[in-house]
């Protein structure tokens, strides 16, 4: 390839540039910043969270939701289980700000008291599912081999059963449904994605140098799993769990809507949505209030999950 003419020229004069020494004081190779507070990964994530408007909005909403779930009676004087048939189908008034249902129940009271059921089911199902999925996923990922193959196939089997479908089948067999029963049913079918994420996360962490380093220091495999692998692998699981919380709330509402969830005697958004369905054309607001409450709650938790993910994952972090 010598055909082309070669352009070559030379620097006019040998210039030797030296920066003025006092331009910027040259620091030591690695100066320690001793003034700032120590920051762990979680402290760093927290710092990023409080600057994220999505987190601030969702956290504010969740605080309100939790407050309502804890003290529904503070915001309304009405009993959600007292239906006055003479006051059925009333439009909003000062006594009943959201109006009343066909049976004369106060809509606001039912929406407020329903929060407790939804939040309880969502929260405890999340705990249960995260425990089952987290333990199975961590063991599968850490032990590996045949154990992993078996556990992963079991996970796949449960994964193949839709959460709602599985819950309907079980709920139909149970005589008396109550809140703990719903939590159990949803937890048994809702842990699979947690397990998968935990497994993947553990596999990527267990091959890192610090785990090998710890082994070489004399740690056994159980110590390694508990002290190094799980703490480093937990972040994506927390994100999934937060998002799942919203999913379980929806699932509970769906079960109640379908009539296989909580009995009519307990107040829940799903049951109320189901009750309001026949009068959708004449009284759309009866459907609107519990649906809105459900939508806002679920959205808050999913937004929180997103914000936590952004804070924990430096790659997904927005500037």
């Amino acid at each position: 390839m010598r055909s082309e003419p070669v352009t070559r020229s030379v620097r006019p004069a040998a210039t030797h540039f030296v920066a003025p020494l006092d331009e910027t004081p040259l620091q030591a190779v690695d100066a320690v910043d001793t003034t700032s507070a120590p920051r762990s990964m979680w402290a760093e994530a927290g710092r990023n969270l409080v600057r994220n408007p999505v987190f601030l909005i969702s956290a504010a909403l969740i605080v309100v939701i939790l407050f309502v779930a804890a003290f529904p009676g503070l915001l309304t004087g009405q009993d959600p289980n007292y239906g006055d048939i003479s006051k059925a189908n009333q439009p909003p008034s000062s006594e009943h700000p959201f109006g009343t249902t066909r049976q004369g129940y106060d809509v606001l009271a039912r929406v407020l008291y329903g929060t407790r059921t939804s939040v309880m089911v969502g929260f405890f199902t999340m705990i249960l599912a995260t425990l089952i999925g987290g333990v199975l996923g961590a063991l599968a990922g850490y032990v590996g081999g045949v154990f992993d193959a078996i556990l992963s196939r079991v996970t796949d089997i449960f994964f193949a059963i839709p959460l709602i479908l599985g819950a309907i089948v079980i709920a139909n067999r149970v005589e008396s449904m109550n809140v703990p029963m719903v939590i159990l049913v949803l937890g048994v079918f809702g842990w699979t994605n947690v397990a998968r994420i935990m497994r993947g996360s553990v596999i990527s962490v267990k091959n890192q140098d610090f785990v090998t380093a710890s082994t070489a220091l004399g740690a056994n495999s159980v110590t390694n799993l508990v002290k190094h692998v799980v703490p480093n692998a937990i972040a994506p699981v927390i994100v999934t769990a937060t998002v799942n919380l919203g999913v379980y709330i929806v699932a509970e509402a769906t079960l109640s809507f379908l009539g296989v969830g909580l009995p009519a005697s307990s107040v829940s958004w799903g049951g109320d949505i189901s009750d309001a369905r026949p009068a959708l054309r004449t009284q759309p607001m009866m459907l609107f209030y519990p649906s809105m409450a459900l939508a806002i709650t679920v959205l808050s938790f999913i937004m929180l999950g997103d914000a936590v993910r952004d804070a924990l994952d430096p790659k997904a972090r927005k500037r």
């Binding site: 003419p5 020229s9 620097r11 004399g218």
Partner: protein, 653 residues
């Protein structure tokens, strides 16, 4: 362009006075917007590249060297922007021209060879197709013509059997071949400027040398100007006519390569040259007495100074060794004899071998063509060596030579297929449970990656305390005192212990890893590429630290590295491994100055910058007086090295 001269034209400042630079960067400012505010990555940088010239930007990571180069082709990350100054290319200001015009420049006028050959080829496309694409994108050729041209380019890039190679996928290429393909792509449209961003830092030294030689020849023939970005001062000085040294976003010094090297003006440049391992040529000598000299009898103590004896400026030239007037040189018949018998490196010392490795072999099963059938692959083949107490043994070799596998087996992280590892004469190969735990206490590792080796969830205190807690040593109070003591040993302030690894620099992290390894007062420390990921200045700090700790605590090191320059600074004995076998072993000086095997010779020849004379630098200045000091020691006063060696003072400021 400007004046057209011949390739053969000698660089002559006078005749080319009217030339315009191909690339002229003046007062460039680049700012990155981050969540923590703005970071000024490049501050007032000015440099120029003349047609056909090779200019190297040298600096440690984070100095802004890549950022400067990437801004030329406008390849900055999204949050980075040019906030001041100008970039002129071919006499035209391209600082603010529309992206469309930059696109037209990329490839056709400005070529790019990226850093990591492993990730810069699309694994789903055949290599030939990727070059064809580059040709089409730059409007050079299309269709069958482009395919034919891509084969030509691969051939030109030095790939044998290019026509067949063009039809292969990237995973069928070795790292060096991939980089050759990327060079072919970078030069596909015959650009006027080639930006090579650390083109060989992911490759073995011998491959690096081939690739750079080839790049030199190609760019010379085509008259392409090269902007070479590298952290390796030796490499830069060897390949470029003009050097630009960057530090913390600023250009601290620039000038003709040889002049800059021989007559550095800026303190940072001076430090960089002093620390560059490829330019240093001797074993580090610690200020205090060496335990080997104290523990063993006269014979080995007298020999010890030989490790650092021939401090030649040009270590690549073995013939010079012969003329060195110092002590017993490797050409001594006695040392030669020892060299032949690796098992008995030092008669006296071998009786005090802390670790003996005998016929260590490791086979890995590789999935074969038949399902459920595996074929064994021998990663380590009958490796035997000894580590004498208080000394450093280095294993060098290219990637895939099995050196890390040896380290893992010595650390008992991998089961050997056959062979034995003896610790103080006892076979530890079958140790389990309690025995293993007590062995772990005495043999500690330091790993390569300072970013991966510390648990990000653990504070520095927890990290260093962990081994103490695991072995149930002391109570909370005595452990804290120990952690403070260890931090002090590795020259870090005690306040560090409340911090987390993510707040520390690479060098600090590696020092934490060293402190952790020392927490249990081990006898042997196994350093697996312990300094390879560090910048040169930090690397020299860590090496000196390791060396000081060795003389202070009587540690024995097994040093695994691919970097021969590092070996020369730290090791007493050197093993060269190739394809799982030890091809050569002997004292470091023997291996460096009288290599017996072609493979060793090739490795030595490939050290970048090794041949550059540092005339005028301190290395040469202290040569003569130091030789006298060495002679005195040989003459029989090995104990009095409480006096700080003037040599170590001069060489490692």
């Amino acid at each position: 362009m400007t004046t057209s001269t011949n390739t053969a034209a000698a660089p002559d400042a006078g005749s080319a006075a009217g030339n315009d630079p191909l690339l002229e960067i003046s007062d460039l400012e680049i700012t990155f917007g981050t969540t923590n505010g703005e970071v000024r990555a490049v501050r007032g940088a000015s440099l120029s590249v003349y047609p056909g010239e090779t200019v190297a930007i040298v600096g440690e990571s984070g100095s802004g060297k890549s950022t400067t180069a990437m801004s030329i082709a406008r390849l900055l990350p999204k949050n980075g922007s040019i906030t001041g100054g100008s970039i002129r290319f071919g006499g035209r200001d391209i600082t603010a021209v529309p992206t469309r015009e930059i696109l037209a420049l990329r490839g056709s006028e400005i070529g790019l060879v990226p850093q990591d050959p492993m990730s810069n080829l699309n694994p789903m496309w055949k290599v030939g197709a990727q070059i064809t694409e580059a040709l089409a994108a730059n409007g050079v050729a299309r269709g069958a013509k482009a395919r034919a041209r891509s084969v030509e380019l691969l051939e030109e890039a030095g790939l044998p059997d290019a026509a067949r190679r063009a039809n292969q996928y990237p995973h069928e290429f070795s790292g060096g071949m991939k980089q050759r393909a990327l060079i072919a792509m970078g030069l596909a449209a015959r650009p006027k400027l080639l930006i090579a961003d650390e083109p060989t830092s992911a490759l073995d030294v011998t491959v690096q040398q081939q690739i750079l030689d080839h790049l030199d020849t190609l760019t010379e023939e085509l008259g392409v100007a090269v902007l070479l970005i590298t952290h390796d001062l030796g490499l830069a000085a060897e390949r470029a006519q003009h050097l630009v040294v960057m530090y913390k976003g600023q250009i601290v010094e620039s000038g003709p390569a040889i002049e800059l090297l021989q007559n550095p003006q800026h303190p940072y440049t001076k430090r960089l040259i002093a620390a560059a391992p490829s330019l240093a040529s001797r074993r580090l000598v610690s200020g205090s007495g060496t335990p080997a000299a104290e523990e063993t009898d006269g014979a080995s103590a007298v020999q010890r100074p030989t490790y650092s004896a021939p401090k030649l400026s040009g270590p690549k030239v073995p013939s010079l060794t012969v003329s060195t007037p110092t002590g017993p040189t490797p050409t001594d018949p006695s040392t030669q004899a020892e060299h032949a018998g690796p098992q008995f490196g030092y008669g006296e010392v071998s009786s005090d071998a802390v670790i003996q490795v005998q016929d260590l072999t490791k086979e890995f099963p590789i999935r074969g063509n038949v399902p459920w059938r595996t074929t064994p692959f021998t990663a380590v083949d009958k490796v035997s060596f000894e580590i004498a107490r208080g000394t450093t043994t280095a294993i060098v070799g290219e990637s895939g030579s099995g050196k890390s596998t040896v380290a893992q087996m010595v650390l008992k992280l991998l089961e050997p297929t056959s062979g034995r590892v003896l610790f103080e004469g006892k076979d530890v190969t079958t140790y389990k449970g309690k025995e293993l735990k007590s062995l772990r206490r005495r043999v500690q590792p330091i790993f390569q990656n300072p970013y991966g080796t510390l648990d990000p969830m653990y504070s520095i205190y927890n990290t260093i305390e962990e081994p103490l807690r695991l072995h149930g040593i002391g109570d909370a109070k005595s452990r804290e005192a120990k952690v403070r003591d260890l931090l002090d040993k590795v020259a870090l302030p005690a306040e560090m212990m409340r911090r987390y690894p993510n707040e520390l620099s690479g060098g600090q992290r590696q020092r934490i890893a060293i402190a952790r390894a020392l927490a249990l007062d081990p006898e042997v420390v196994i350093c697996d590429e312990a300094v390879s990921a560090l910048d040169v200045l930090v690397q020299s700090q860590v090496l000196e630290l390791l060396n000081d700790l060795q003389s202070e605590l009587g540690l024995s090191y097994l040093f695994i590295t691919h970097d021969l320059a590092v070996v020369r600074q730290i090791a007493d004995r050197t093993l060269v491994m190739e394809k799982g076998k030890v091809v050569e072993q002997g004292t470091t000086d023997e291996v460096f100055h009288a290599p017996q095997q072609d493979y060793t010779k090739r490795l030595l020849a490939a050290i970048p910058g090794g041949s550059i004379p540092l005339a005028g630098s301190e290395t040469i200045d202290v040569d003569a007086p130091d030789a006298a000091v060495e002679d005195e020691q040989v003459d029989g006063s090995p104990q009095d090295d409480g006096v700080i060696d003037p040599f170590s003072e001069a060489g490692h400021v």
